[in-house]
Every structure is written in structure tokens, then in C-alpha cells.
């Protein structure tokens, strides 16, 4: 019995990470933490892609991951800036307080 991890091991880890991230997005109230959850979901996807790339001997997945990391970095910059701006205006970073679009 080989101890080398197979594709499904990676995928399970990836799924667990994704679920943890989703849970964070759905359950936490602080915007920063929600953001961290989002990043976690992105990286879960990255892990799955890299794993596919490794086991299929195809570099396409890795290329895609680079793009995702780049876009995620940009997105985080914008998102964090928004959160800072929001905090300055509202003195709060909690999602319950952000209901001004409600009728």
C-alpha cells in the first residue's frame, strides 16, 4: 500500500477548504473575516486545479492558477479599500449594519 497521496486526496482537501471558506462567508459577521473565507474558497479551487494539472501531466491548470492568484490579489486590493471606506463612513464593518439597499 503506497503512502503517496492520490488525486482524490487532494480533491478532498480542496473540498474541505472550500466548505470551510463557504461556512466563513455565510456564518461570520465581520466583513474582513468574510473576505478571508472568500480567499479560502479561491485557494481551494486553486488546489484542485494544481492537483488536476499534476495528475494529468498538463500545465494548463497551473497557468490558470497564476491568473486566479493575480486576479485575487487585485480583487482583494479593491475589496479591502471598499471595506476601509465603508468603515470610515459607518464606523462599522459588520454586515448586519449594511442594509441601506433594503426597501
Amino acid at each position: 500500500m503506497s503512502l503517496t497521496p492520490g488525486l482524490h486526496h487532494f480533491l478532498v482537501v480542496s473540498a474541505l477548504l472550500f466548505s470551510l471558506g463557504l461556512l466563513g462567508v455565510l456564518a461570520r459577521r465581520n466583513l474582513l473575516v468574510i473576505y478571508m473565507g472568500l480567499e479560502l474558497m479561491l485557494n481551494a479551487a486553486n488546489l484542485a486545479l494544481v492537483a488536476f494539472s499534476r495528475f494529468n501531466a498538463n500545465l494548463n491548470g497551473q497557468v490558470m492558477v497564476f491568473f486566479i492568484i493575480t486576479v485575487a490579489a487585485a480583487e482583494v486590493a479593491v475589496g479591502l479599500a471598499l471595506i476601509v471606506a465603508l468603515y470610515r463612513k459607518r464606523q462599522s464593518a459588520h454586515v448586519e449594519d449594511l442594509t441601506s439597499l433594503k426597501l
Binding site: L22, V25, L26, A27, V95, E96, L98, T99, S100, L101, K102, L103
Partner: protein, 673 residues
């Protein structure tokens, strides 16, 4: 005038034109529209330019019509049409096209000629009116609509212009809309016409459904090949189409709008009554006469009509209208109303002629009538103008010396209307009577003679009371002759009133209607050969002046006899009369005549409540079913749904995320299954 020689001369010089007759026709049609548009858009503020535009357009149209008449009216040229597709929906294909044949070119001349003179006259009559340009816009639009009816080559196009005539008549009758009676009269005319038009439209639909075409030429051809094409609906379709004519040509029971239309300015009355609106119905009947030449056939529900044909019913309605209107005319005191009822009566005459199978006689009478009735109306307008808008003939009198030109032309018009030989009215009336006699309608013939006597009577009553005797009011005493713009059209119109029948117009029309069918009807060829036996000159005079007496003495002599009797009674009763002796002689019958046999009152008692009931029902339906159920229902259910959906929008970011993720999960689940 020898028209055939003129024709030869024109054919020799004509090649420059003769290639595109339909273009000339289109141009004639569009000229008045251009004038109306030009006045509306450009010269609305200038009285002078408005009148110039309008008159120039109509006169040009008249000249072009004359060119067209010489080119195509006189010879045997076939109908020329130039259809281009206008509407194509399913199996219905409607082309816009023009018909240029004997019938339409003659009618073009009548319409543009009378319209041009009426417009010149209006410059004098409407002088000083603050809406002077608007009046000319209306006249131009009216002329355009009427020309459209004349030139239309299919039912749908004719119906379009038919409605346009309705609209423009509404504009003109209600020209003085500040006057409540004028506004009401305009509405009455429009609505009464709509009633007839409804039947007309139904008739068109039946014909289209049965024959698959609305084009006159195609329809005529198809009916010629298969006379049973319309099946059991043949007579019904004919009568429904006749309903359109009943509205426009004011036949009983839709005649009530016409006398009220007198509320419009007098030139409008002249135009409506002489050459345009009321002539449209008779013209249409003549145009689609082939529709009435098919076998009589009634659907089972109407089988009790048996062998009575649509034409018989039309003839009956025409004769009844003529009689009724003549009776009403006898006791009217308003100069314009007398003429209005006279128009009604003469229209009945024409419709009767169509009903007797003589569309040629009907068109003949229409043409001559257009001349002398326009003359009479314009003459009446001149009198009204001179008497400071006094319209009661019993307040006039003695105008003969004060307004010699008007009196002379008016007298000529009266003589023509009464049918004094050798004026034009005599010949056309004779043609109508002959059509009734020849085609086996002795009762209608008798009625025709009676009505001829009554026509002479009421017209002489009008002339004797208004023009002879002595002035009965101050206004009449200070009357003065009208300006030249008003008297010249009278003089010009007096010419065709007298001489129109001296050209072989009757033969011309007979030729148009009956040569193709191999059934040469009435006078025409035989008489020409009769004339040829004697010297040519004498033959021509004989042909022109005495033809009716030679060829068919009975209607000619009876017609003249009726004229003499009518005139004799009128002179006995009204010579120097100070007030009307008839009410004493006839009692309540005279009151009935004066009150138009209470038709308006009857209609008001029966149809107005009925109409109100329908209106109330419609209102209820609109208020509760359309407004309540449909409109409020739609908006209520939308609002309810909106309220329900609003709960979903909590404003909580994470709720949305949850729904989103749940949705994705659901989609993935379904996709993977």
C-alpha cells in the same frame, strides 16, 4: 361642340401626353392635397396666398382633367390603371391605383370644375372671416378626398377616401364651430354617414371573402365569367354596399344629416350638394354597377324577398326619398333648406335611375345637376350675403331689381332644375324617366313625373317669393349686388346649366355602361341615323334639342306637362303673395311637411334612448369588466406578488449569499443527476 372632331385633333397632337395618362391622374389627385399641405405648413397667415394656392391647384387640376378627358374620355380607350402595392396581409392584397375611363374623367371634370368655381366664390363670400385660410385648407382637403373616390380602382381605396370625405365634411360643416348648431350638425353628418359606412364595409368584406379581390376591374371580370360567384349573398352584398351610398347620398332613412349640414358656410353647401359628398354615393353605385347585374339571390333567412332584386329595393328607396324630400321642400321657408331638400329629392331621382338599371341616366343627371345646383346654392349665398345673413324667403322679396345678375342666373338654374327644355336639366331628367319606363318600372316612372311637377312648384315658389313682389323687410330693401368674385362664378355656372346637354353626354355615358355588355340601351345610335337622313345641320339641331320628343315622346311630353302644371300652380298661389297660402289649404299636412314629417323627432324618440342604453351598457362593461377586472385586476395581482417577493429581499448580505449558494448547489445537483 363636336367632341369627336376635337378628339381627333387631340389624338394627333397628343403623343407627348398619351404615354402616361395615369401619371396625369395621380397628379390631379395630389394637387389639392399639396395645396392643403402648403397652406397648412407655409402660408397659414396670409389670406391672399392661401386662396391663391388653393384656387391655383384646383384650376390646374381642372385643366389637366380636361386634357385627360379629351385624351381618353372621348375615344374607346380602355381603363388605364397603375396599381402599386399598398397593403398585403395574408390573402388580402390591396393596391393603390387609379381608374381612368369615361366615367371617372367626366366626374373629374365635374368635381374640379365646381370646386374651382366654389373656391373663387368663397374669396368673396368668406371675405373678412378670421379663419379664412382654414376654410381653404378644408376645401382643398375635401376636393382631394372626392377626387380619390373618383379615381379609386378598388373598394378599399375608395373606402379610405370615402372616410376622408366624411372627415373633411365634418371640418367644413362645423367650420363655424363656435356656433353650437354648426358643431352639432357636423357631428350629425359624420355619425349618420358612419352608420352607412358600416354597411359599406361589411359589403366590401363579403365581396372580398366571396370573390377574393377588391379590385373593380378584376371583380367585374370575375363576375362576368361566374355570375354566381357571390352565391346566396349576392343581393345582400349589393345592398350593404348601397348602404354606403345611402349615407353619403343621404337616402331615406339616413337622409336627416343633409338639411342640417346647411349650418356650414354657403360655399360648403354648394360644394357638398353639387359635386362632391352627395354625388359620391351615386358615383359609387355607377362605378360598381356590375355588382348589381348578377342574378338575384337571397340567403335562406331573407328568402321572402323572392325575386325582388337589390336594384328594385334601391330604386324604391330612391323614389321614396325623392318624393319625401320634394314634399318637405314645399313647405320650407329657409332659402338654403329648400335647396337642401331639393338636392335630397334629386339624389333620390338619381338613385332611382340606378335602381331602374340606368346608371348612365343617373350619371347624366348627376353631371347636369352638379352644374345647376352649384349655381343655385351660390346664388342663394349671394342673396344671403346681400340680405345680411337673412335666410327666410318671406323676409326677402323684390330682389330682382336690386340683384339683377344673381336673379338672372338663379332663374336659369331654377329653370334647369325644373327641367325646362332645352336646358340641361330637361334632358337628364328625361333620361331618368326613360330609364324607368324602358326597364319596366311604370310606378317609379309615374312617381318621377309627379316629383318633376313638385320640383317645379317649390323652386318657382322660392323664386316668386324671394325675387319678385316687393321687399318684405328692411334688409331686403337695402340689398345690393354681390362683388365680382361671387357673381362671375354664377355666370360661368349658368353656361353648363343651359348648354351641358347640347353635347351628346347621354350617348357618351350609355356607351360607357352598356357597350361592353352588348346591350345597347336607349337612344344613341338610332337617333343619329335619324338625323343623318335630313340635312346634317338640321339633324344636329334636331338631335340636340328635340331628340327626346322624337325618340321617346311619352316621358318627354309628360315631363314637360308636369313642368307646366307645377309652374301653373306655383304662379296661382304665390304671385305677389304676402304670406304662404298652403298651410290654410292643407292644414296639418303642411305642418308635417314643414317639420320634415318629424323624422328628427322620431329618431330622437327611438334611436337616442336605444343608443343611450347601448352606451350605458358599454360604460358599465368598461367601468367594471375592463377597468375593474382587467386593469385593476392586473395591477392588483402584480402588487400582491410584489409584496410577497419583497419579503425575500431582507437586506442581509449573507441571506443572499445563502440563496445564491443553494441555487448553485441545486443546479449542480440537477446537472449531475
Amino acid at each position: 361642340m363636336d367632341v369627336h372632331a376635337a378628339h381627333n385633333a387631340v389624338t394627333a397632337a397628343a403623343p407627348a401626353f398619351s404615354s402616361r395618362p395615369e401619371d396625369i391622374a395621380w397628379f390631379i389627385l395630389l394637387l389639392p392635397l399639396l395645396a392643403a399641405a402648403g397652406i397648412t405648413l407655409i402660408v397659414r397667415r396670409s389670406n391672399f396666398l392661401a386662396a391663391t394656392f388653393s384656387i391655383a391647384a384646383t384650376v390646374t387640376a381642372f385643366v389637366l382633367s380636361f386634357v385627360l378627358f379629351l385624351m381618353f374620355g372621348v375615344g374607346d380607350a380602355a381603363a388605364v390603371t397603375s396599381p402599386f402595392a399598398w397593403l398585403h396581409a395574408g390573402e388580402l392584397a390591396v393596391n393603390l391605383g387609379v381608374t381612368v375611363d369615361k366615367l371617372s374623367t367626366l366626374m373629374l371634370l365635374v368635381v374640379t370644375g365646381v370646386s374651382a368655381l366654389v373656391q373663387v366664390y368663397s374669396v368673396g363670400y368668406m371675405h373678412g372671416d378670421r379663419s379664412f385660410p382654414r376654410f381653404f385648407i378644408g376645401l382643398s382637403l375635401f376636393t382631394f378626398s372626392m377626387l380619390g373616390i373618383v379615381l379609386a380602382d378598388n373598394f378599399v381605396m375608395m373606402f379610405l377616401f370615402w372616410e376622408l370625405v366624411g372627415v373633411s365634411s365634418w371640418l367644413l360643416i362645423g367650420f363655424w364651430y363656435e356656433k353650437e348648431s354648426a358643431a352639432d350638425a357636423a357631428k350629425k353628418a359624420f355619425l349618420t354617414n358612419r352608420l352607412g359606412d358600416f354597411g359599406f364595409l361589411l359589403g366590401i368584406i363579403i365581396i372580398w371573402a366571396a370573390a377574393g379581390t377588391v379590385n373593380f376591374a378584376e371583380l367585374s371580370q370575375k363576375l362576368g365569367a361566374h355570375p354566381d360567384l357571390l352565391g346566396s349573398l349576392a343581393s345582400v352584398a349589393g345592398l350593404l354596399v348601397f348602404m354606403g351610398a345611402m349615407g353619403k347620398s343621404a337616402q331615406f332613412p339616413l337622409h336627416v344629416w343633409l338639411p342640417d349640414a346647411m349650418e356650414g358656410p354657403t360655399p360648403v353647401s354648394a360644394l357638398i350638394h353639387a359635386a362632391t359628398m352627395v354625388a359620391a354615393g351615386v358615383y359609387m353605385l355607377c362605378r360598381v354597377f356590375f355588382l348589381y347585374q348578377v342574378e338575384t339571390a337571397w340567403p335562406a333567412a331573407l328568402a321572402f324577398f323572392g325575386s325582388i332584386s337589390a336594384l328594385d329595393i334601391i330604386g324604391g328607396i330612391g323614389a321614396f326619398t325623392a318624393l319625401l324630400a320634394a314634399l318637405m321642400a314645399i313647405q320650407q321657408n329657409d332659402i338654403k333648406r329648400i335647396l337642401a331638400y331639393s338636392t335630397l329629392s334629386q339624389l333620390g331621382y338619381m338613385v332611382m335611375a340606378v335602381g331602374c338599371g340606368g346608371p348612365d341616366a343617373a350619371m347624366y343627371h348627376l353631371t347636369t345637376h352638379a352644374g345647376f345646383k352649384a349655381l343655385l346654392f351660390l346664388g342663394a349665398g349671394s342673396v344671403i350675403h346681400a340680405c345680411h345673413h337673412e335666410q327666410d324667403i318671406w323676409k326677402m322679396g323684390g330682389l330682382r331689381k336690386l340683384m339683377p345678375k344673381t336673379f338672372l342666373t338663379f332663374a336659369l338654374g331654377t329653370a334647369a332644375l325644373a327641367g325646362l327644355p332645352p336646358l340641361s336639366g330637361f334632358y337628364s331628367k328625361d333620361a331618368v324617366l326613360l330609364a324607368a319606363l324602358d326597364n319596366g318600372h311604370p310606378v317609379l316612372f309615374g312617381l318621377g313625373v309627379l316629383i318633376a311637377a313638385m320640383t317645379t312648384f317649390y323652386m318657382l315658389r322660392l323664386v316668386l317669393v324671394a325675387f319678385l313682389g316687393s321687399g318684405r323687410s328692411e334688409a331686403a330693401g337695402h340689398a345690393h349686388e354681390s362683388p365680382g368674385a361671387m357673381t362671375w362664378p354664377l355666370v360661368i355656372l349658368a353656361v353648363p346649366s343651359v348648354m351641358l346637354a347640347w353635347v351628346p353626354l347621354g350617348d357618351y355615358l350609355t356607351h360607357h355602361f352598356f357597350t361592353d355588355h352588348g346591350h345597347v340601351h336607349g337612344h344613341g345610335s338610332e337617333v343619329i341615323s335619324f338625323g343623318a337622313t335630313i340635312s346634317a345641320a338640321f339633324g344636329l339641331v334636331n338631335h340636340i334639342l328635340f331628340e327626346p320628343f322624337n325618340h321617346a315622346p311619352l316621358p318627354a311630353f309628360l315631363g314637360t306637362g308636369a313642368l307646366i302644371i307645377g309652374a301653373w300652380i306655383a304662379v296661382t298661389l304665390y304671385w305677389n303673395a304676402e304670406r304662404d297660402p298652403l298651410p290654410k289649404l292643407l292644414g296639418s299636412f303642411a305642418r308635417g311637411m314643414r317639420n320634415r314629417f318629424y323624422f328628427d323627432e322620431i329618431y330622437e324618440a327611438i334611436f337616442i334612448p336605444l343608443h343611450d342604453l347601448v352606451a350605458r351598457l358599454a360604460d358599465w362593461f368598461d367601468r367594471w369588466v375592463v377597468g375593474g377586472l382587467a386593469v385593476r385586476g392586473a395591477h392588483g395581482s402584480t402588487e400582491l406578488l410584489g409584496r410577497a417577493l419583497r419579503i425575500v429581499q431582507s437586506g442581509n448580505l449573507q441571506t443572499y449569499t445563502f440563496f445564491f449558494v443553494a441555487g448553485v448547489a441545486l443546479v449542480v445537483l440537477i446537472a449531475l443527476k
